[in-house]
Symmetry: C2
Subunit: 218 residues, 2 copies
């Protein structure tokens, strides 16, 4: 067991070094990196698609797409006119700082001010790893149920904001928004919570303003 802990420390140390390198490269180019984390199908790609149109002319951004298999998300974003690069994780449940570094090397960072990372759909593992991002963004869909902040608190505690997606489906769901907000505030009292629909565009404006503020502060 001692040996296992020692090895885990070694691995964590290597990850921290790569995260540090990423931070250096991003700072050098004045790029703010935001790491989107949410369940599979929580609407991360749709949120980026919708945001892309609203950020046009206000932000120069690209997306690093982390997935286990396929480049479908990067293709979707490219169809929306977004510069998107697919990074396969080779079966791993999260994007590592090292894998992400290879992505940074393929992008023309000088032409960007913001870089979105869409992590592998997973509420647990991507939270545990610093990849050199300025902020983590929690993405939670109404269709997942209001109990997720209480059941998976680490993400919502770590994230700089939470985006509750798919609000257009609320009339068809038994989703208790009040309970969800209560649990979110219990784990992360002061961080912004955005309620959006990437279909109707409802609530998107506040999220876009938050994004633009990150760029300015980056």
């Amino acid at each position: 067991m001692e040996r296992q802990i020692e090895i885990n420390r070694d691995l964590a140390g290597a990850g921290e070094e790569w995260a540090h390198k990423n931070r250096e490269v991003l700072r050098e180019h004045g790029v703010t990196m935001l790491n989107l984390i949410g369940s599979p199908g929580s609407g991360k790609t749709a949120l980026l698609e919708k945001s892309a149109g609203m950020l046009s002319g206000k932000m120069r951004f690209a997306v690093l797409e982390g997935d286990i298999e396929t480049d479908r998300d990067a293709e979707r974003l490219r169809r929306a006119g977004v510069q998107a690069l697919q990074l396969s994780t080779g079966g791993a449940c999260h994007l590592s700082a090292q894998r992400l570094h290879t992505g940074l090397q393929e992008l023309d960072l000088g032409s960007l001010d913001t870089l979105f990372v869409e992590n592998v759909g997973n509420l647990v593992c991507p939270v545990e790893f610093d990849v050199g991002e300025q902020a983590k963004v929690a993405v939670l869909s109404t269709t997942e149920g209001e109990d997720k902040p209480a059941k998976y608190p680490a993400l919502f505690r770590e994230a700089s904001c939470t985006v509750i997606t798919k609000t257009d489906l609320l009339p068809h769901l038994c989703f208790d928004m009040e309970a969800c907000l209560h649990d979110l505030q219990a784990v992360n009292a002061r961080k912004p919570i955005f309620r959006v629909s990437s279909i109707s565009g409802d609530g998107m404006q506040d999220w876009i303003q938050w994004l633009l503020a990150q760029k300015a502060g980056g």
Copy 2:
């Protein structure tokens, strides 16, 4: 790196031993164990709640609930009259065979013929570990989108069947069922696919028949 691989082999070996122990205990008591795996909010607990009513008098079963935090799912099931035991994973992204073994020791296995495991909501990590189950069941909700079998193929390849949940929401979604079934068949051609709504009960009968057949063959 060699040392890391060696340690991972040691850990995998220990997991296999616990899985073997679980299998022995279950066989001794004639209990079939089914491991439900799906995203957070994919409707695993709701499926078990709905199934419980339909299995009454036909199956003697209990549920082991794996969660990182809270015992909300076990409470929900107990309200539905189900014998449910909550197992905290202590932050881990999946239930280990060893953690599950502690659950087996707390149950009166002699009174059961079937044991459901509701794993931590995660499409990746729980797939990699044998916990001694007879079969894995993939749970995919329509609200997650039809692309999940292609993006997370390991689960759908390993699972003995797939349950597509939340079909009552289809009229409100852009879910391409044909594409989903096509991708499912590409990774796992011959396994049953059930399309159900735990709200309306649509499609539940075939899933219940499959469950009863597992018991008979167990």
